[in-house]
């Protein structure tokens, strides 16, 4: 499943970055790397974008970008 499909406030682990080009490079530079722990903490009023907690800090990304991040929900 991708980060886009993750329920808000559920802990998950990033398993793969499927984005290409500049988007992939930026996401990884900011720490979206396999093994990172992520959690959706906010969904914007119109459903998009979402705010993701990563490594204790928060970043807002669009759903189309979240769809490029594969995650595995933590048990």
């Amino acid at each position: 499943m991708t980060l886009r499909d993750l329920e808000p406030l559920r802990d998950a682990e990033l398993t793969a970055v499927t984005a290409r080009g500049v988007l992939a490079q930026r996401l990884m530079a900011m720490g979206f790397l396999p093994g990172a722990r992520v959690r959706i903490v906010q969904v914007a009023p119109f459903g998009d974008p979402i705010t993701v907690e990563l490594d204790g800090w928060r970043i807002s990304i669009r759903l189309s970008e979240a769809a490029c991040l594969d995650v595995k929900e933590s048990a």
């Binding site: 970055v17 290409r20 080009g21 500049v22 988007l23 992939a24 490079q25 930026r26 996401l27 990884m28 530079a29 900011m30 720490g31 790397l33 396999p34 903490v41 906010q42 969904v43 914007a44 009023p45 119109f46 459903g47 998009d48 974008p49 705010t51 490594d55 204790g56 800090w57 928060r58 970043i59 807002s60 990304i61 669009r62 970008e65």
Partner: protein, 691 residues
């Protein structure tokens, strides 16, 4: 930009939201110089600071997460660090500002900068916030691990700056060495094929990078990527995974474990789908009403002051009419037309600074992003767009908060379509003269509201078209850090206001002033004395001798045959399909300095008392073509309003666009808006007169 060339340069680099600019302000004080990097719309801030015995130019580089040059900001950082920017020498020391609460991510950029081959000093900033979260970092141990001086600072309170300066002074003499990343052999050999210098890792890793294009390295990069793949490495992810593994080893055990992150609690309310939007709407109402209404008394005061100055100077120069007009109308009027913008600029930048420094601006962008995303704009475009309903000039200056260059240019290009306060006098005159008497107060209100909706309704699709078909570069991903909420510092806010006001006056003010003088000359010359004699004689023959009335008729006659008047008469056929006669055409041309000038120019042309708008309304209503038909029908009034809704008759906006985005875009904006205005006015007149 620097007045004296200092031999030493110290650059300040770091991630956004690390207090980098606060630290820069703390080092340099208020004596900063602000401009743009050559040929690019990235702000360049420099100042001076003493480091030990030596004085250096300090450059505040844009905040970035990485050196991968995908945006103009990142390109500037990389070019500045490698000494590729004219007038900005390669820095002797780089101060890397890192957020102590987020050391790992911040060191990503630091380790990239180290590879460029410039001496580093790390400012471990916001240690107070970190301590409040239970993170304690021993700066001395960190210095040992990183091989470069690390100084704990709290820039917002000026703590640690002296130690930082001392560390920079030391690093100038004996730079440390940041432990190099243990790149796989394949990476190092691939980097050697790309020059083997400070840039070569960037040339290897950065995809779609303008740097690669600028160095003509596209083909070499593809070959190097092939080599990486052959060695079993993914060119896209190898940098981040190796670098972060390196950083994790460097900082292993360096800090106590973080407690819960603070400063996010307000998000539960401020980004809530009901409360968040309500609070957002309320805040935006406060911002907008402040620039729209609260600025008004200050603007009225400035206007009154300059009117008084003009008449005082005029009285002194009464014996030399040309000099009198040049000084009163040209020079004093020209300076006044620059100063008049300061109240709105200062008020808007007060709010921009508070919203950004508090962290709320990121939330506003988060809330509004969806509304804009389909046009190619993003949530950050909201505040400038809203502000442009008051005035496009401060709004365009505020587009600096938009970091995506594509979104920024399109916001700049459509902002002047929003119905600003300068259009109001035009609408009020036309609606008051032709809508209200014929259709009633309700229709007048609806017409005024409609004119305001019209700009927005046209701007959004135009933004879409501009983004889709005109701006070829790829859009940047929308990745927006949500910084913790922080209390804005008065010093930072006031510095920002001061800088934006000063920058506008210095950079745009001179051009606006020059425009004013040119327009004054076009409206003043030629001025043969026979015109005055003829008009006075004609009026005397009709028994009119009252001095004021005679002066009004003389002014009207002079404007008629001035260069601008002749241009208006010559251009009238172009505006005939809009239903404009030559007087309206002259007034349209004369309104180039600012739209509201239409009203005063019509006043002169109809020799109407300038204090009394009802007199002008009556004269307009009575104006007729040679065949006796009235000039001003409701269709013509509508055409005039539509023309002014869309046109870019505002030299200040044009100048600010040119200063922010270049004259090419300013010319484009003028041409497309004028074309739109003409088409709109023709449609309004042709359809309106057939109804």
């Amino acid at each position: 930009m620097t007045t004296t060339t200092l031999t030493l340069t110290v650059a300040v680099a770091g991630n956004p939201n690390t207090g980098k600019s606060t630290l820069f302000n703390g080092l340099t004080g208020a004596g900063q110089q602000v401009g743009n990097y050559p040929g690019i719309t990235v702000q360049r801030k420099t100042g001076r600071c003493r480091f030990g015995e030596r004085e250096a130019t300090v450059v505040d580089l844009p905040g970035t997460y990485s050196l991968a040059a995908a945006s103009p900001d990142e390109e500037v950082v990389l070019d500045a660090l490698t000494g590729h920017i004219e007038g900005t020498p390669k820095p002797d020391v780089v101060i890397c500002v890192v957020d102590a609460t987020n050391l790992r991510r911040n060191l990503f950029l630091v380790s990239q900068i180290a590879e460029v081959g410039v001496p580093l000093v790390v400012a471990l900033n916001m240690t107070d916030e970190a301590e409040a979260m239970g993170i304690r970092i021993d700066a001395r141990r960190l210095s040992e691990r990183l091989g470069v001086p690390c100084v704990a600072t709290v820039a917002a309170r000026g703590l640690g700056l002296d130690e930082l300066k001392a560390a920079v002074a030391t690093a100038l003499d004996s730079p440390g060495k940041f432990p190099p990343v243990a790149w796989p052999a394949a990476v190092l050999s691939a980097a050697r094929t790309l020059g083997g210098n400070g840039e070569s890792l960037r040339l290897l890793f950065d995809v779609d990078s303008p740097l690669v294009a600028a160095r003509g390295m596209g083909a070499s990069q593809s070959q190097a990527h092939e080599a990486l793949r052959a060695a079993g490495l993914d060119p896209l992810s190898i940098e981040a995974s190796t670098r972060y593994a390196h950083i994790d080893r460097l900082i292993d055990g360096i800090s106590t474990k973080a407690g819960p992150k603070r400063g996010y609690r307000a998000d539960a309310v401020l980004t809530h789908r009901v409360w968040g939007l309500l609070i957002f709407a309320a805040l935006m109402f406060v911002v907008f009403s402040s620039i729209y209404w609260i600025a008004q008394p200050a603007m009225d005061g400035i206007e009154a002051l300059f009117k008084w100055l003009a008449s005082a100077a005029g009285a002194k120069l009464a014996s030399k009419p040309m000099l009198q007009s040049l000084v009163s109308n040209g020079i004093i009027g020209g300076v006044g037309s620059v100063i008049i913008f300061l109240p709105q600029i200062l008020i808007l930048f007060f709010f921009v600074a508070v919203l950004e420094d508090s962290g709320y601006m990121a939330r506003a962008a988060f809330l509004m992003d969806k509304v804009f995303a389909w046009t190619g704009l993003n949530g950050k475009c909201f505040v400038p767009m809203l502000s442009s309903f008051a005035c496009a000039v401060p709004a365009i200056l505020a587009t600096r908060t938009i970091d995506d260059p594509k979104a920024r240019i399109s916001t700049i290009l459509v902002s002047p379509l929003m119905s600003c306060s300068a259009r109001l006098p035009v609408y009020v005159l036309m609606i008051g003269a032709f809508v209200e008497p014929n259709y009633g107060a309700l229709a007048a209100g609806a017409a005024l509201f409609g004119m305001h909706v019209l700009g927005l309704a046209v701007a959004i699709p135009i933004a879409f078209v501009i983004n889709r078909f005109l701006l070829k570069s790829k859009p940047l991903p929308f990745l927006l850090e949500m910084p913790p909420y922080r209390r804005p510092r008065a010093k930072g806010v006031f510095l920002r206001m001061w800088r934006s006001g000063w920058e506008f006056t210095a950079r745009a003010g001179t051009v606006i002033f020059a425009f004013s003088i040119v327009i004054w000359a076009l409206m003043y010359f030629p001025r043969p004395p026979e015109v005055r004699e003829r008009v006075t004689a004609e009026l005397a023959a009709r028994g009119v001798t009252e001095e004021k009335a005679v002066e009004r008729e003389v002014d009207s006659a002079y404007l008629n045959q001035s260069l601008l008047g002749r241009m208006g008469k010559g251009a009238q056929p172009v505006f005939a399909p809009c239903g404009f006669d030559w007087k309206i055409t002259i007034a349209v041309l004369a309104a180039f300095p600012a739209r509201e000038v239409l009203v005063s120019t019509l006043g002169i042309l109809y020799a109407s008392d300038e204090e009394d708008e009802t007199a002008l309304r009556a004269k307009l209503a009575a104006a007729s073509w040679p065949d006796g038909k009235p000039v001003y029908t409701p269709a013509v009034a509508a055409a005039i309003m539509i023309f002014f809704a869309f046109c870019l008759q505002c030299m200040s906006t044009i100048t600010v666009i040119a200063k922010e985005a270049g004259w090419k875009w300013a010319g484009f904006a003028f041409v497309y808006m004028t074309a739109l205005a003409w088409v709109g006015a023709v449609a309004a007149y042709q359809i309106g007169s057939r109804l």
